[in-house]
Symmetry: C2
């Protein structure tokens, strides 16, 4: 694998934008100079993704799919198109998604299709008619399947690479159970998987919420979701998982013969980690003013080697660099030897901006001493390591980098929550990029009016009730003054 | 990972259809009973792929992408939709693909798009406008990128799972070079990659052809492709690679400043291994009358363990099976312990039909002797192996199975070619499922009439001239009697 890092005026190596003070500019610029995505495609919300992001997203898919497979979910792949007659079978679902659907109605040079086809906005209505054929008996349950694919939604909100696109990359897991209890247990398993993968492996801290009734998945019973905080003080939804109850089973006729020989409806869940969005959150959470800081686990190149030589020792230094590279390759470390003609200083800046976790600097001194200088991007620190120990040292350093990035992110995440019980306090917290914890009347549909009032007065949205901590409300609803039945969290959001 | 293999009347375990005598039935049935694809989706040519095929296709993608990355091609990902104004920029290309395009012209509840969007039938017209922005100087070349995605073509021919779908899975590699010579060298590299992956790793023998001028990629200069033979005596095109010359560079304005500071057009190639189609060919080439025979490299489960016990020793036998499974898992072998309640005999049939390369049979005798009985699906042979040697034995056996499958396929492939210089001989060969090698006037457009005559009289199509062997024509064209300028091959085809 090679990537060009050619030193010419068209390529910028030094990056310096305040992520906290000017996040939109930081994000737009890093997508451009680190070559993550190119927004010039010419169709709103559709963005080509470039190798540096695609290689990391591939790793993220692999880690996510491995976690799902360990928990007995198997991969499948459904068509990208859904017949209109399927899409309209579940009333709330069609109402929720139809405004965003891209429709195929013509083929070739003018032929009209007999039935319009939707580009899948999500695949319940593609998959569940087949589940109705596959699920016959209690012996077929549980059925746990997922697919990795693109989905398409004509978002009205403004789009941004990774964070909100009209086409995005995700995994969607669709499961069928004999009982509602098993379905609810799956929802909890999904939230655990989220923490295992998103937090433990990608280093992104999250809070887990049960969404309000007006903010749930169209057609479902309850939605649970993990939120993280972006550098601009807005929360972003990372994976959500949905308890569908038997709503879709009734709409799509998914029934099974139970052990008592009765034909009954099944219960369902679905779970949708959007890898492209998680990638966008990951680079935003870990990056700094100098550019990307990629976790060792997710970096396309975990180590970049920068040779430092004069004309008289070029060949020897390069030989030593090749020897070092081969050593790392044999150990399964993703390594890139940057033998481009640019200066070492230019390369240092370039790979720091690209977020490569470890840089190896190798010159005549390292060669003669049989050592390597290792520079870690997260803390911008150097150390000298003997060649004999370097592989195990790099593996340990990689672990430490990932732990450090995660701890730094968690440290920022803590202390985010501010208790508030007046509108002014909520507005205040939200404006400072905090999350307000407030007493609230109800997350049933009855509470929607109060939520809209909060949104109008503070710009914040209710993210729901926490399910990862136990909380009892105290006092009255901030808006209506009725007794508070819930503790909810309010923040600006993507 | 688990898969259900429950013994009930709805699931067939014994498969017995003659692959050679009744290939269409064999293929349709194996897709159904081995749970590879389900044709009941309800949109012509769009087929859900099930775990047993998806898990193998994932491995095939991984092996293909690894080969491309070793040769310095990097992954990227473009949008699924292409604006109409892009699609029509290259005249021959638009003529070739437009009849097959699915068009998106509406969004949501009736809004018309300002410009229609095509579902990509192939991505030249999506990618090349961006390449025009990315390629500026000789320093940017060569540019070698690929993507893994679905493409969409409204085929008029009848569709079949994997072999011909309206949505199919592929890798498309798009490359830009400074000179035509480098582009031609890339085409040869692609053909080598085809042999490395399709033949050496997947075990599918191929012949490599330069296609005729009337059968080339729309808009390209020359098309080269690998064909294999299916059990029904028809050839099928596996990956093709295209020398685009500077045709697309001129249409999309892909220019670079060369070392002499002149602004000149670049040269391009593209290469498109269709993984879903290669999967269809792979199972067809290797399968037998009892069902699938999957290569060890590609099987979702490389080893299935079938425990054989009575009530009194169930626990001990299962303990021994778990111990054996853990041993294989630690060695990175994909293993599945079938602890379902079905009988051992039913499981034997089931996993033979599913094509699992190695079955381990474990009963009280194996437990007491610390051995394992291994059954290889390709040759249907059993042997007893001590537990202490079993991992290295399985790894070697896996290699041997893959070699055996490949050699059996190659043996059938040899002796396929029949020399012919009269129409009757060609018809004869084609009807017997052979490939006729014939003297032919020309593969330039001038020869099209003769090709159509051959097609009309024999049902065979001209596959082109071989590029992997040197051949000089002798005599006159079978049809028109003009001096033969080429040796071409004729066969029925998919």
């Amino acid at each position: 694998m090679t990537v060009k890092s050619k030193q010419d005026e068209s390529r910028k190596a030094i990056f310096n934008i305040s992520k906290e003070k000017n996040f939109p500019e930081w994000f737009g610029e890093i997508c451009k100079v680190a070559e993550l995505a190119d927004i010039r495609y010419g169709v709103k919300g559709f963005t080509p993704f470039l190798p540096w992001s695609v290689m990391s997203m591939e790793i993220m898919f692999d880690l996510y799919e491995a976690a799902l497979q360990r928990k007995d979910h198997l991969p499948m792949l459904f068509p990208t198109v859904i017949p209109e007659s399927n899409l309209i079978k579940e009333a709330e679902h069609v109402e929720g998604f139809t405004p965003q659907v891209f429709w195929i109605s013509e083929v070739g040079t003018g032929e009209r299709l007999e039935e319009r086809l939707a580009l899948r906005p999500t695949s319940e209505t593609a998959i569940y008619p087949m589940y109705a054929l596959w699920v016959r008996s209690w012996r077929d349950l549980p059925l746990k399947r997922y697919q990795r694919c693109s989905v398409f939604r004509s978002e009205v909100k403004s789009t941004r690479p990774f964070l909100r696109g009209r086409e995005f990359l995700w995994i969607e897991s669709h499961n069928v159970f004999a009982t509602h209890e098993e379905a609810k247990a799956q929802v909890l398993e999904d939230l655990e998987t989220t923490k295992e993968v998103v937090t433990e492996q990608f280093g992104i801290p999250v809070m887990v919420f049960k969404r309000t009734q007006w903010d749930k998945f169209p057609g479902g019973v309850n939605t649970y979701a993990a939120d993280t905080l972006m550098p601009d003080g807005k929360v972003i939804q990372l994976p959500s998982t949905h308890d569908l109850g038997d709503n879709f089973a009734r709409a799509f006729d998914i029934k099974y013969v139970n052990e008592d020989n009765e034909l009954v409806y099944a219960y369902q869940t679905c779970y949708g980690p959007a890898i492209s969005r998680i990638y966008g959150a990951m680079i935003s959470v870990h990056g700094d003013d100098k550019g990307l800081r990629l976790p060792y686990k997710l970096a396309p190149y975990q180590v970049v080697i920068v040779p430092i030589f004069k004309v008289e020792n070029e060949e020897d230094v390069m030989d030593y660099c090749h020897r070092f590279r081969n050593l790392l390759q044999q150990a399964g470390i993703r390594v890139y030897l940057d033998d481009d003609e640019a200066t070492p200083g230019w390369k240092f800046n370039y790979w720091e901006m690209k977020g490569v976790p470890i840089r190896a600097e190798i010159g005549p001194r390292e060669m003669s001493e049989e050592t390597v200088v290792l520079f870690r991007r997260d803390l911008m620190k150097r150390e000298t390591v003997p060649l004999a120990d370097v592989v195990s040292h790099i593996v340990a350093l990689g672990e430490d980098i990932d732990q450090t990035l995660r701890k730094q992110a968690e440290a920022k995440f803590e202390g985010l929550i501010v208790d508030a019980d007046r509108m002014g306090e909520i507005r205040d917290a939200v404006e400072r990029g905090k999350i307000a914890r407030i007493p609230f009347c109800t997350t049933e549909m009855d509470g929607l009016e109060c939520a809209e009032e909060i949104k109008a007065q503070t710009g914040g949205e209710i993210r729901g009730t926490r399910i990862d901590v136990e909380e009892k409300p105290d006092g009255v609803c901030v808006v209506c003054g009725r007794p508070a039945r819930e503790v909810v969290y309010v923040a600006r959001s993507y």
